[in-house]
């Protein structure tokens, strides 16, 4: 089995079958991380470059560990240590990296569409690890994986996504991912953070968080960027937290067996109260664990043996 594509750029491009393939493959890789020897030889001799133009600890580490557990060689490049600061264009950087014959470049960039642009230039695989406010496909896949693990299904679930929808790639990828698999997605946030036409992606919209949470099987909280306060997206952190922060009280409208997700890093006491983040409904750390399995699956499905036969 493999993905019939060179790159993973956006959940929007994927069929439900392709998403299903990633999820089932991830399930089979998950136990590798639980073994004493956390490594399989599957991608021995493959090279993965993590090219990160934005700071990231979690995602970059997750991709790196995933590659290493598959026995691929992983190299990390981040802005501050590369020739990026010397003014080299992205295209030139990418071509130089490709000249070293990597099999895959994992890219994170603040400008939406950058992975698409690289995928057009490069013969190796490109994985989008987050491009501006566009998409973050591996995050959505690990979120769906985490929900599926707990709920055993996606179809028919109600998923509420709450926070800064306008600037969130996680929201966009998850709207596509969950709706493709038959869930109902409702997004909620202050009107300043609801982008125009978001319902066109297939979700419901409400500015009332309680309405979004009502009867939800999954509540996903988004990280609020504190600097948005300066740009007048919300008046104060205090007010944002009062209206949109998830606490036990707001959560009481959800289903009894609701689960809480957060792509991290969390602002405790801002978008999520500690009692919720650390509470029994929270799968925030499971998401991180599953992230490694999902990324192992992506490497396998894009670079794996089956692809060579083709």
């Amino acid at each position: 089995m493999r993905l019939e594509r060179k790159d993973l750029l956006a959940i929007r491009d994927l069929t439900p079958e392709e998403i299903g393939l990633v999820l089932s493959t991830a399930a089979s890789f998950k136990d590798v991380s639980e073994r004493e020897i956390k490594k399989v030889p599957t991608l021995r001799g493959k090279t993965v470059i993590n090219l990160f133009y934005e700071p990231s600890t979690r995602t970059r580490t997750s991709f790196e560990i995933a590659a290493k557990r598959m026995s691929a060689d992983a190299v990390n490049i981040s802005v501050s240590t590369s020739s990026v600061v010397k003014g080299e264009t992205l295209k030139d950087t990418a071509r130089n990296l490709e000249a070293m014959r990597p099999d895959c470049i994992v890219v994170r960039h603040a400008s939406p569409g950058t992975p698409q642009m690289l995928a057009g230039y490069l013969e190796c695989s490109v994985i989008n690890a987050g491009d501006g406010a566009h998409e973050h496909p591996s995050q959505a896949l690990l979120d769906i994986f985490t929900v599926l693990e707990r709920k055993k299904k996606i179809k028919g679930l109600k998923v509420a996504i709450i926070g800064d929808i306008a600037h969130s790639r996680v929201a966009r990828s998850n709207i596509y991912g969950f709706t493709k698999l038959g869930a109902e997605v409702v997004v909620s946030g202050p009107p300043t953070m609801i982008p125009p036409g978001i319902e066109g992606l297939g979700c419901g919209v409400t500015t009332d968080p309680l309405e979004a949470i009502k009867g939800a099987d999954v509540v996903m909280m988004l990280r609020i960027q504190l600097e948005r306060q300066r740009e007048s997206f919300f008046p104060t952190v205090r007010e944002y937290s009062r209206v949109y922060g998830l606490d036990e009280e707001k959560l009481s409208g959800a289903k009894k067996d609701v689960i809480i997700l957060h792509p991290g890093p969390i602002n405790r006491g801002v978008e999520i109260a500690s009692e919720v983040a650390d509470g029994p409904y929270s799968l925030i750390l499971d998401q991180v664990t599953n992230g490694v399995a999902v990324r192992m699956a992506l490497f396998y499905l894009l670079l794996g043996a089956a692809r060579e036969e083709a």
Partner: protein
């Protein structure tokens, strides 16, 4: 004295009310006479020296097209375009007159830059180049330029195009002061605080792509302000590159109550929507951005009913250094001179407007808006003539452009109608046999 005869074509000159088979006689770079073909008894003696006869049978003959909005990039950005290559592109697109904006380096905010441009144009140009002087020094929107001297040096209009004029008090003074010279003031109407870091139109497409959008209100609010200031001062205002339905409505209402305002729209805003940005292709990035289908429809209606007087290209050459980069980083702008007529003819074929209206909007209307005597084939006018084969289809191949830059949104598109010959002041500047 050199003579030129263009025989047997369909001559369409909205300014002179001509549409039919005429022969055009050119002498000394000027139109000497225009005679109905069937009544023309002039006998041309073959072999006469200095007599060139062009057979335009089956072709359309129109006044040389006039583009009141181009960026020729010289001085300062010669790697993008020069006066030589830009006017060659103009000639290839059938334009014999181009107005060039002041956002060069140095800015055309003083007579020495104006004179430099005109000198270059005279030496190397293939079209009439008429500089637009800056409204403010350094396009900073703070201090008035020396307009008397700019006019004397040859500037025909004033604009900070590329940079919106933020301070309303400055815009008011600039409009007022321009009354001294009856020079039109061209506004790039945009509230840059509202458009912020926006990279495309704000709407469902920008949401899908995760790109920051520019709302229509960023243009509407400034068009409204500038119309009110034109009304207050009585000055002549020209609105550049109108892109929103709101702006069309504001201009229509202003014209109805007698405000001295004219407006232009570009071929790309008349034909493309923000959907085109979906692949993050930077050749669809410009300012103002491609808007929604409703905006395109409103622009077309405005062009039909005369609210939008003119078509102008906003020819904005950019090199791959500016364009072959991340979308949010990429420079704004598209080249337009070499595709404009064919793109607009596509609208004629679609039934959006008549051929006569299209020609009017590319000849006499822009000339009137800028107070020029170009854009007509009346006897005594400069012999600026464009000959077009309306039946000839062609594919846009940027690598074949005369322009130095390749940033067209129409690459690979098949277009109908091809300029076959362009005559500027009696000289064939494009399509010589």
């Amino acid at each position: 004295m050199k003579r030129l005869v263009i025989k047997g074509g369909r001559v369409l000159d909205p300014a002179a009310g001509l549409d039919g088979a005429y022969n055009i006689y050119v002498m000394g770079g000027r139109i000497a006479s225009v005679k109905p073909t069937d009544k023309d008894t002039t006998e041309l003696v073959p072999g006469v020296p200095d007599l060139e006869v062009i057979d335009a049978s089956g072709l359309l003959v129109v006044p040389g097209l006039v583009d009141i909005h181009t960026h020729l990039r010289e001085p300062g950005y010669e790697y993008k375009e020069t006066i030589k290559t830009g006017t060659r592109a103009a000639a290839a697109g059938g334009f014999t007159t181009v107005l060039c904006m002041a956002n060069t380096d140095p800015v055309n905010d003083n007579q020495s830059v104006t004179r430099y441009i005109l000198k270059k144009a005279e030496a190397e140009g293939s079209a009439r180049v008429l500089p637009v002087g800056a409204l403010s020094f350094g396009l900073q929107g703070e201090r008035l330029t020396e307009m008397a001297e700019l006019k004397e040096a040859g500037c025909v209009a004033l604009s900070d195009d590329g940079m919106p004029v933020v301070r309303s008090s400055f815009m008011r003074r600039a409009l007022e002061y321009s009354l001294l010279f009856s020079l039109p003031v061209i506004t790039h109407a945009e509230d840059p605080v509202l458009s912020g870091p926006g990279a495309m139109n704000e709407g469902a497409v920008s949401t899908m792509l995760g790109l920051t959008g520019v709302p229509n209100a960023a243009e509407d609010s400034m068009v409204a302000r500038d119309i009110m200031l034109a009304e207050l001062t009585g000055a002549r205002l020209h609105v550049a590159h109108v892109s929103t339905r709101g702006a069309v409505g504001l201009i229509r209402a202003a014209k109805e109550r007698g405000v001295k305002v004219t407006a232009e729209a570009t071929p790309h805003h008349l034909t493309l929507t923000d959907e085109a940005v979906s692949g993050y292709e930077t050749n669809f990035k410009m300012n103002p951005p491609l808007r929604s289908r409703e905006d395109v429809e409103a622009l077309r209606q405005g062009l039909r009913d005369g609210t939008i007087d003119s078509i102008a290209t906003d020819h904005a050459p950019q090199s791959i250094i500016e364009k072959d980069v991340e979308f949010s980083k990429a420079a704004n702008g598209v080249v337009g001179l070499e595709t404009a007529f064919s793109v607009i003819y596509g609208l004629v074929e679609e039934g959006v407007m008549t051929l006569e209206r299209a020609i009017e909007a590319m000849t006499v209307k822009p000339s009137e808006a800028m107070g020029l005597d170009t854009g007509t084939l009346r006897v005594g006018s400069s012999a600026d003539i464009t000959i077009i084969d309306l039946k000839k289809s062609w594919t846009v191949r940027p690598e074949n452009f005369c322009s130095k830059s390749r940033n067209t949104p129409y690459a690979g598109k098949e277009l109908k109608a091809r300029v076959v010959k362009t005559i500027y002041a009696g000289e064939v500047v494009y399509g010589a046999d």
